[in-house]
């Protein structure tokens, strides 16, 4: 009863004694700690950090198109602020075109997944109304879908 606990306690005591002995043996300076002065000065040996130098590889008048692209990319790293403003204007496709394309796209892909009966309905509708988008065409076809009729007793 309580033997294991005693052992651990004695072990702890022994460890503490050992630590004390070791720390007493350690040499330490009696001098108060000197505050490390925060060096406010960074030494730099390259001119690259001091001056705003351009990238060393250049090409003019389309001699080497890859390097011209590289020049734009390297030099634009310095002027990142301007590019952030211009992001909205740089989209290849305008928002209106995107919306138009998306509408028609949904219709064409939706037609692909309709069953045969619904496709026939769609064709009839298409002949009647040419202008209607795919979305409005699918609605009558969905209504035409026959729901399961419970047999009357």
């Amino acid at each position: 009863f309580m033997q294991r606990g005693l052992d651990s306690q004695t072990k702890k005591q022994l460890e503490e004694e050992e630590k004390k002995i070791i720390s007493e043996e350690h040499w330490y300076l009696d001098v108060p700690d000197l505050k490390e002065k925060e060096s406010c000065i960074i030494e730099e040996r390259s001119f690259l950090r001091c001056e705003d130098l351009v990238y060393g590889r250049m090409s003019f008048k389309g001699f080497n198109p890859e390097i011209e692209k590289l020049m734009i990319r390297m030099n634009s790293k310095c002027k990142e602020e301007e590019i952030e403003e211009d992001d909205k204007m740089e989209a290849d496709v305008s928002d209106e075109e995107m919306a138009r394309r998306y509408e028609t796209l949904v219709g064409t892909i939706g037609k692909k997944f309709l069953r045969k009966r619904d496709q026939r309905v769609l064709k009839d509708d298409d002949e009647d109304d040419e202008v209607e988008e795919g979305n409005s065409n699918t609605k009558p076809s969905k209504r035409a879908k026959k729901m399961f009729l419970k047999p009357q007793d």
Binding site: E44, R45, F47
Partner: protein, 211 residues
Amino acid sequence: PQGRLLCGPGLRRSGAGLLVTKCGLLRHRPGGGGAYWVDSQQKRYVPVKGDHVIGIVTAKAGDVFRLDVGGSEPASLSYLAFEGATKRNRPNVQVGDLIYGQFVVANKDMEPEMVCIDSSGKSSGMGIIGQDGFLFKVSLGLIRKLLAPKCEIIQELSQLYPFELVLGMNGRIWVKAKTIQQTLIIVNILEACEYMTAEQRRQALAKLSGT
């Protein structure tokens, strides 16, 4: 003061103050915490970490190339330091090739080491410089002038003919144009730019574009 002061080439910290080690003009940049440096003129290049330089391959020693960069020692360049290079896919570098790379280790105690990729692993224009073209040496001050953001010399030259230019911080410039004559014209202008004033330069260029 919160911002750290950058003391550039030509200045050294000693105690609480700065010592000047080179002769020249003291320049100051107010932005980004302030920076001071001495704008000095010299022809001999001392390798500095992060500098982009043009090196000439002088020897192939196993897996490492020795490049002459105009410093006191030849720099070493490992064959794995190219974009897309693996142990099996070695870059095709011969003795006498020109290489545009940057220093990754450059101090007075160790041999300088170069690489041809940047920190993200992309080559971004570094690597072997192609065939043809002309390599010549100018002073370091002229290189820094040419690399300034809006350099008039470069702008005026770019109006003349299509050409390609690689500037190394070790004073070496490589030029390539469509014909040999055009290349030599550009070389002569760049070499003479050091001692010509802006007026003389414009006159010379006007003569050339006239003829």
